[in-house]
Amino acid sequence: MTDNPLNIEGAVCPVPLTHNEQIVMGHGSGGRMSHDLIRKTFLAAFDNSILRTGDDAAPLEIDGAELSVSVDAHVVTPLFFPGGDIGKLAVCGTVNDVAMLGARPLYLTAAFILEEGLPIEILQRVVDSMKSAADEAGVQIVAGDTKVVERGKADGLYVTTTGVGLRRAGQRVGGAEAKAGDVVILSGTIGDHGIAVLGARGELGFTSDIQSDVAPLNHLIEAMLDASPNIHVLRDPTRGGLATTLNEIAAQSKCGIMLNEDAIPVHPAVNAACEMLGFDPLYVANEGKLVAMVAKEDAERVLAAMRKTHYGEEAVIIGEVTAEPQSRVLLRIAIGTTRIVDMLAGEMLPRIC
């Protein structure tokens, strides 16, 4: 050590990186990088009023029939994980996206990209799992496609599913429909899927009994819609987690959302895994949960209806919709402070220490 003082005033810092030139993993995170990619590349090219609604499914009207249509490509490593597999994920993901417009999912199509060398037995297990998930959801898989790529060009198999459902006549449910005063309801614990998959990859460095929550939520949604005509928003917080989903809704509805940290249920094992890895459960993926914005006067009735269903047993109120600050999600912390809950930026990365 010397006693010479440093000239720190002259310090500078690095040039920006925009990742505009090639796809990086962060573009698939479901967070802000994904949104930017969609806005700049896809929305710019395909722009139309339906796409611009920005929900996970498209509301269509054809000859008086009010439809909900969605598509989802599924890639997951490993193909089988505690609580589910890529097949169940492929059915539930699309069933849920269709249902989140307040629709009854009816039909799915499925496209398979298979890697040369994939054991048929694995494919059979995935297909059986899809069949049982479709039966539970009450949908039929009515068309499909199969492509095979050379070994090394895919990760076992990828499944893309498209779903069609019928919306309830006259009921507007969508990300832009949240209203100040609405109550925010969450159907159960967050982060289970993300941590279950990390565990199955052997990336936790410890074992856990956490199961993915992957599940079809359409029956839960039916029960909610039966209980109240004043359900304004339904959304499943998948990639990017609850925080990202609520930011999307706040932006679409031009409202604020105030959450109570203590009210958000997190499985203790998920919490422990997140503490160890430096993750925030608010950003960890779910595949069988939904968040709803409901008129305050109907909230208790909707909650009661949810709790009577299998996937809504642990439903709770986690916050409320506010007029201000627009497009912002805030979290009320028990010690009497509040903080901003931002959208996931790029990929979620474990902290160094």
């Binding site: 003082p5 310090a11 810092c13 990186l17 990742h19 028990a334």
Partner: protein, 360 residues
């Protein structure tokens, strides 16, 4: 969760904060040295409930933020080589070098892997004898024991394909540099609990005496932080300016973890180190001792001359030494966001700018 929930108890935290307000009679500037503490303070909004006369400034204790650009460029060059598997802690992937980051290298075909422990990288080396496996060994004293263990493990396993790219930094020389700067405003320090868990706090009384700045060893939960602030304010208010106290006694002892310190000293030696955004701080880093040169990635890979280029907009340097706050930067939240960071302080989850962007 046991041993965590108790330290987030709202009533206990409020009680300590009330006590801070009771003992505070005048303004004080206190620096938390560690990025993990900056993150926790902003995440829990502790700064919102402290008396307004207590100003917390954020120190350079984010290892990702201060890793020098030249070394990141070296990492990018090594990771781009076809026979290399480059392993890193997650946060490092997003830190920009001169025009690229490890994400870009990965997207261009480089084998970049996130590991949770350097021993995972040793295991990757064992499983891939035909590849060179390099671990990016960055960090403060906290990560040093695990990083040196990876070298010792690789040596005992006879691995010839494992090396580490070292950019280790140490807290006391950085505090010395901050306190010795003519523009220093810091009157008291919260010492980094995790660093002290390894090193103890026997290095700090001499610093406190030299600069007459009291210090409290502090943990990372809201109650720990409030406690550390209370200790520091008390020492300041009572004029005990050369005192060093331990507000994290459940983890930290005066001597620290001596077997860990011995192991570090066996593998690392002191060296001058450049801190990104700050400059060279004499004897502020660790490097591999000559007898471990076989495990030194800088010697194993010749990446040629590297010319570095920093953005002139960013004030990360001043933020890292507590002279400025993230909000003082004209680029904050505009040109500079976590997705498109101008400065390393915006990149790491422990960086002050990222904490402000995320929570404030």
């Amino acid at each position: 969760m046991k041993y965590v929930t108790e330290y987030r108890d709202a009533a206990l935290v409020r009680g300590v904060v009330d006590e801070i307000a009771r003992v505070t009679t005048r303004p004080w500037v206190i620096m938390e040295i560690c990025g993990g503490q900056t993150h926790a303070i902003v995440r829990y909004g502790l700064d919102q409930i402290l008396p307004p006369s207590i100003e917390l400034v954020h120190g350079p204790g984010c290892p990702v933020c201060v890793t020098p650009l030249e070394l990141i460029d070296k990492a990018l060059a090594i990771a781009s080589q076809p026979d290399v598997i480059f392993c890193s802690y997650g946060d490092m992937l997003r830190v920009p070098g001169s025009g690229r980051d490890l994400f870009s290298v990965k997207a261009s075909g480089g084998q970049v892997r996130v590991v949770y422990s350097p021993l995972d990288a040793v295991e990757i080396a064992r499983q891939n004898p035909d590849k060179q496996v390099v671990f990016f060994a960055i960090g403060f004293e906290t990560t040093a024991p695990a990083n040196v263990m990876s070298v010792l493990a690789a040596r005992s396993m006879g691995l010839k394909n494992f090396s580490i790219l070292v950019s280790h930094v140490r807290v006391p020389p950085a505090m010395h540099a901050i306190l010795g700067s003519p523009s220093n405003r810091v009157q008291g320090f919260l010492l980094a609990g995790h660093v002290c868990a390894v090193m103890g706090y026997h290095e700090y009384p001499s610093l406190a005496e030299k600069y007459r700045v009291p210090m409290a060893v502090t943990g990372f939960e809201p109650l720990d932080l409030a406690q550390g602030i209370l200790y520091t304010v008390r020492m300041l208010e009572e004029g005990r300016l050369t005192a060093v106290e331990n507000a994290y006694a459940r983890t930290v002892t005066f001597e620290g973890n001596q077997p860990a310190q011995k192991t570090i000293a066996q593998v690392f030696e002191d060296c001058d180190r450049t801190w990104r955004g700050i400059g060279v701080i004499p004897m502020s880093g660790w490097r591999l001792r000559p007898e471990f040169a076989d495990f030194d990635a800088e010697q194993r890979f010749d990446v040629g001359y590297i010319q570095t280029k920093e953005s002139p907009l960013c004030i990360a340097g001043q933020i890292l030494v507590g002279m400025k706050k993230p909000h003082d930067c004209s680029a904050f939240g505009k040109e500079c966001t976590p997705e498109h960071p101008l400065g390393a302080t915006m990149v790491s989850s422990e960086g002050a700018c990222a904490a402000y962007y995320k929570y404030k």
